[in-house]
């Protein structure tokens, strides 16, 4: 499968899932293309579209929590940012994604406490 077809397939698979979770693809189209391309590369290498901005380790259970779309496994954290960590998805009401910030997981935990 070529990269463009791979990106299209991921859009097709992920759009209905994130829609149910209250998210949509980031309107910053160039960013989406970049991130999807990275995921297509992971699919070719490992058969799995991992998050391009989170690290895999040797722990399968941990790695499965960063398979895109990983929103279900980081819900409160991402809802607080109105975006997922890599920014492929944003809350449906977001019109200006550049105004959204990444909140480090450590700070988010502290805020919750």
């Amino acid at each position: 499968m070529n990269v463009e077809a791979g990106k299209k397939a991921l859009r097709f698979q992920f759009a209905p899932i994130v829609d149910k979770l209250g998210y949509k693809f980031n309107p910053a189209e160039e960013d989406v293309e970049f991130l999807l391309e990275a995921e297509v590369t992971f699919q070719r290498q490992y058969g799995i579209p991992y998050c391009p901005c989170q690290a895999r380790t040797r722990d399968r259970a941990e790695n499965m929590k960063i398979v895109c779309p990983c929103i279900p496994f980081h819900r409160e954290h991402y809802d607080a940012m109105k975006r997922c960590w890599c920014g492929l998805f944003v809350h449906k009401d977001v019109t200006d994604p550049s105004a959204l910030k990444q909140i480090p997981p450590s700070k988010f935990v502290k805020r919750k406490e």
Binding site: A55, E62, Q102, P105, S106
Partner: protein, 85 residues
């Protein structure tokens, strides 16, 4: 000048933007791409990140003794001391 160290992923958009932030300001930094490092180095980086309370979310930027996880230009400026009015 504070020492700057960046842990990144070669696939990560925000890691690229973080590196560009420092390049644009002609501020030198040391950068390691976690996904290009060998297994021993990966374990060392992950232990360091977890030790500071961060998980495996990139970018991870050390400015002097301070740590910023995520692309946060305002925080980079503040820690560099060049954003002061």
């Amino acid at each position: 000048m504070k020492k700057i160290k960046i842990y990144a992923l070669s696939t990560c958009l925000w890691c690229k933007r973080t590196k560009k932030f420092f390049e644009d300001r002609k501020i030198s930094f040391e950068a390691v791409d976690y996904d290009k490092a060998d297994e021993a180095e990966q374990e060392r980086i992950m232990a360091e990140m977890r030790g500071k309370g961060g998980g495996g979310s990139f970018p991870y930027v050390c400015i002097g003794e301070e740590v910023v996880q995520g692309y946060d230009p305002d925080e980079f400026e503040r820690l560099l001391g060049c954003g002061k009015k």
